[in-house]
């Protein structure tokens, strides 16, 4: 009996089976990422080891084998650049900062007057 995904709700119990979870479309983000990585990784491995039997030209092979390291480094650079950009373009509110500092001092003075020790 074949199970169709998505249309049959109310299946009993928590189904932990990965394949049927895929059919039901309830894969978590982690499993989606792992599937994607596994697919890309196996494609890369098959191409680099020549398992598919295609004779790629030498420059293409030279580019292909460091590709995972390259993707990691460029992801790291993107993260670093985005963080730096957001730090540089963050909107400072000088007036609000000064007002907040003065309110903090005021609150401290008030509380010490009432007997709370810092």
């Amino acid at each position: 009996m074949q199970r169709k995904g998505g249309s049959r709700r109310g299946l009993p119990g928590a189904d932990a089976d990965l394949v049927s979870a895929t059919f039901r479309g309830t894969m978590t983000k982690l499993t989606q990422w792992l599937w994607g990585l596994a697919l890309l990784g196996s494609a890369w491995a098959a191409l680099t080891m020549g398992a598919l039997g295609l004779e790629l030209p030498l420059p293409c092979r030279e580019v292909l084998w460091p590709l995972p390291a390259y993707l990691l480094v460029s992801a790291g650079c993107y993260a670093l650049g985005t963080v730096g950009y957001r730090v540089a373009t963050f909107h400072d509110c000088e007036d609000a900062a000064r007002e907040l500092q003065s309110q903090i001092l005021e609150a401290r003075a008030d509380l010490t007057r009432r007997g709370l020790h810092f």
Partner: protein
């Protein structure tokens, strides 16, 4: 806009990441397609280093993070021991 050192640090990080990205892209993606007699090849290390340098720096980063965590944990344990 942020002011003073924030801007300097922020744009400095952007510049560093762009430099690293362009150098690494040229090294990994563009060099294999350039004739091996061209003068540009003398500015780049042998290709094996394109994997070794990021790997070594990644491991170094993990080491530093581990050391930092160890240091913080020891300090907090010494603080609780002194409080007892």
């Amino acid at each position: 806009m942020a002011t003073g050192t924030d801007q300097v640090v922020g744009f400095g990080l952007v510049a560093v990441s762009l430099i690293i990205f362009t150098y690494y892209t040229t090294w990994v993606i563009l060099l294999p397609f350039i004739d091996s007699q061209h003068a540009i090849h003398k500015y780049f290390l042998p290709r094996a280093y394109a994997i070794l340098i990021p790997l070594a720096s990644g491991l170094l980063l993990l080491l530093l993070v581990g050391l930092f965590i160890t240091y913080v944990m020891l300090k907090s344990r010494r603080a609780t021991k002194k409080a007892q």
